[in-house]
């Protein structure tokens, strides 16, 4: 795992995340959100979980970001009213970050480097999904169907 690539990806991801959290223009913030998720997917690639990184790019950048852009366009009349960061929200988030960082640095058992692991192929993921995880897989399928039907019912035009 190259530390130069890691540093670059981390800086890009965190800068895009902060931009998504604070930019006033809603379209720019959505674009930063997409860049953040591409950065997280790149971190997944560095960690040897290529399949999850690809799924993240397909689902978030391909579907969720487009959905958010469409929602912004559909509620366009309301744009331009969002003000920047609220003081107490930012204080709470920075305090939480400080507390978490303190706890992570105080825990000696997480200061380890990666062991040499066998590459995780898509074949192994598919076998695991179809054997040990088949019941959660069916439940997630049911949940997705129910959620999509629910979303359609919510946005359908009301009958006059």
């Amino acid at each position: 795992m190259s530390s130069v690539a890691f540093a670059l990806i981390t800086i890009l991801t965190l800068a895009a995340a902060l931009a998504a959290a604070t930019l006033q223009n809603l379209m720019h913030a959505t674009l930063s959100f997409a860049v953040t998720l591409v950065g997280v997917a790149a971190l997944f690639f560095l960690l040897g979980a290529e399949f999850v990184g690809l799924v993240l790019v397909f689902v978030y950048v391909g579907a969720v970001a487009v959905l958010i852009v469409f929602t912004i366009l559909l509620t366009r009349r309301d744009l331009g009213k969002d003000r920047g960061a609220n003081f107490w929200g930012a204080v709470l988030a920075v305090g939480l970050f400080g507390g978490l960082t303190w706890a992570i640095l105080k825990t000696p058992s997480v200061a380890i480097v990666a062991p040499h692991i066998r590459a995780l192929t898509v074949k192994r993921i598919g076998e695991a999904l179809m054997t040990g995880y088949v019941w959660p897989l069916q439940c997630v399928g049911l949940l997705l169907t129910a959620a999509l039907i629910g979303a359609l019912v919510l946005v359908m035009e009301e009958k006059r």
Binding site: M1, T22, V59, T75, F97, L100, I104
Partner: protein, 104 residues
């Protein structure tokens, strides 16, 4: 020097905090949803990092949990954005400050 597990956990904590800033300080409902999605991505990063740094030879448990959590986050985003559109139809606003009908 290769990054340790600590570094990944700190990156994940930073991403979570950025999501928390968006979720707490935005007035626009869509951006509260974006903040929640960023916090979920930070949790997924933790799952993958702990899976990668597991010292024993292991089953792909962390990867499985991350895949299921991405699927559930996508369902949540679809329902959340549908709710934003439904609220906009009723009140002509997406600012959560104006949705105070239940306030006592």
């Amino acid at each position: 020097m290769t990054p340790t597990l600590q570094v990944f956990l700190i990156v994940s904590a930073a991403l979570f905090s950025a999501g928390l800033i968006a979720a707490l300080s935005r007035r626009h409902a869509i951006f509260i949803l974006i903040g929640i999605e960023m916090m979920l991505a930070a949790a997924n990063l933790n799952f993958i990092a702990f899976w990668h740094f597991n010292p024993k030879p292991q089953a792909p448990t962390g990867v499985m949990i991350a895949i299921f959590s991405i699927a559930i986050a996508a369902a949540e985003a679809a329902v959340g954005l549908a709710l934003v559109i439904a609220v906009y139809r009723h009140y002509r606003t997406t600012s959560v400050d104006h949705l105070d009908q239940l306030k006592g």
